[in-house]
Amino acid sequence: MSLSTAEALTDALREEARRLLAEGTVAVVVGWEAGRFPNQTTPAFISDPEQAQRLVYGDYCVNTLAKYALGEKAAGKVAVCVRGCDSRGINRMIADNQLLRDEVYLLGLPCSGMKDPATGSLLMKCRTCTEHDAVTYDVLLGPATAAGHDGASADSSAGDSEHVSDEQRFTAVLGIEEMAPEKRRALFDAAFNKCIRCYACRKSCPCCTCRECFVDQLRAGWQGKQNNLAENRFYNITRVFHIGDRCIECGECERACPMGLPLMALNRKMVKDLKSLFNADDAGMTEENSAALGRYDLGDLEEFM
């Protein structure tokens, strides 16, 4: 987005945050503020109206904020800055009974994709984003994004150019599917091998809202503590399976992963399959829970016989 747009949105955001806090509508505003390094931002939690000017919005707000609503709601109503990904995360948590819509006040922001502060190029997670703008909000700050992401489809034309086709969205999945099985095995063995099980993927995920994750439970045969290929595979595959039919495709897991695992390829593999097999809805578009594995259809494809 242009500098002037970013500044205008930042001003609007600060003003709205100040007003909400001063009027007592919300107890805290969750947004972003500048970090130490050039272009770096970091999640910000503002509860004093005087501090609202710390908030910023622009091209480098890389964090998806939805999940913070859970931690903050105890203090009162939480205002959360939402773009497509954040708002879908909020919807997801509502669908999963973790949050009430009334517990949050959503500040909708237009988004044209966020950039990596280090390289200035569009974040991986934003390149395949299908929903840039908030799908739900209480107030919309600034116009919806008309043009596409600043990436490949940028500036192609005004209007509906923002649509990311399924082909683009599932490029990585399709690429891997085309590989020979041994190559796929080698690819994921290498990935699982380097996993350090820091669990940043699950901690950043708005679908991961269990009180105690299966990996933290000491159950015989469940998830072992050792770091080895088999255990890491168990963790990674189970993680995908637990969230696959609810994944909002925000890409935070992959962004958070310090080891660069292809987590979104795994997530999207399930998203793609559930979509093509069971006509699954994209998750988090509404507050309804339509998780494809939580229901069935008598006419589902039969391939097991």
Binding site: V173, I176, E177, P181, E182, K183, R184, R185, A186, L187, F188, D189, F192, N193, K194, I196, F214, G221, W222, Q226, N227, N228, L229, A230, E231, N232, R233, F234, I237, T238, V240, F241, G244, D245, L266, K269, M270, D273, L274, L277, F278, A292, L293, Y296, D297, L298, D300, L301, E302, E303, F304, M305
Partner: protein, 164 residues
């Protein structure tokens, strides 16, 4: 000092020993629902059908009880193949268990294969209480397929050194 070698050696080990280590004999775990496939397997016995001894049936109330994590555990712990069997869709004793199982396991199987698992190592079949022959044929078929693939390498023993 290793313990309990002879009496507790698994069937696979024993079978391998029997054939003088000439052929690999897979260990195959079959989750069978109590109401259909398990009784189909009983019927195969009643009819004195014959099938390879590689398969071990683990009885569950319903194919809907089979958690995909069980499958991962089985492969990690040393099974070379896993079979999940239940009532045919529409015949579930619990109305809908196998419909949920069908969805879950279809997605799960694709996910496993995406990460490189050979399709033969994880299979799902619907076998009714009367289909003793189908149970036998399935066991023979799956056993042959996995024998041809060789042992499953889970990587459980590969200690991952981060640096190296």
């Amino acid at each position: 000092m290793p313990v309990n070698e002879a009496p507790t050696a698994s069937a696979a080990t024993a079978a391998t020993a029997a054939t003088a280590a000439t052929a690999f004999e897979p260990t195959i775990l079959a989750f069978c629902c109590h109401w259909c496939t398990y009784s189909g397997a009983d019927l195969a016995g009643l009819n004195r059908m014959s099938y390879p001894a590689n398969v071990r049936v683990l009885r569950v109330p319903c194919s809907g009880r089979v958690n995909p994590q069980f499958v991962l555990t089985a492969l990690n712990k040393g099974c070379d193949g896993v079979l999940v069997c239940g009532c045919h869709p529409g015949d579930c004793h619990y109305v809908s268990g196998n419909y949920f199982a069908r969805r879950r396991l279809m997605a799960f199987k694709r996910l496993l294969e995406f990460t490189g698992l050979e399709p033969e190592r994880f299979q799902v079949r619907w076998i009714s209480g009367s289909e003793a022959g189908k149970f036998r044929d399935t066991v023979i078929e799956v056993c042959d397929q996995i024998r041809a693939l060789g042992p499953y390498r889970s990587g459980v023993s590969d200690d991952v050194s981060l640096n190296g």
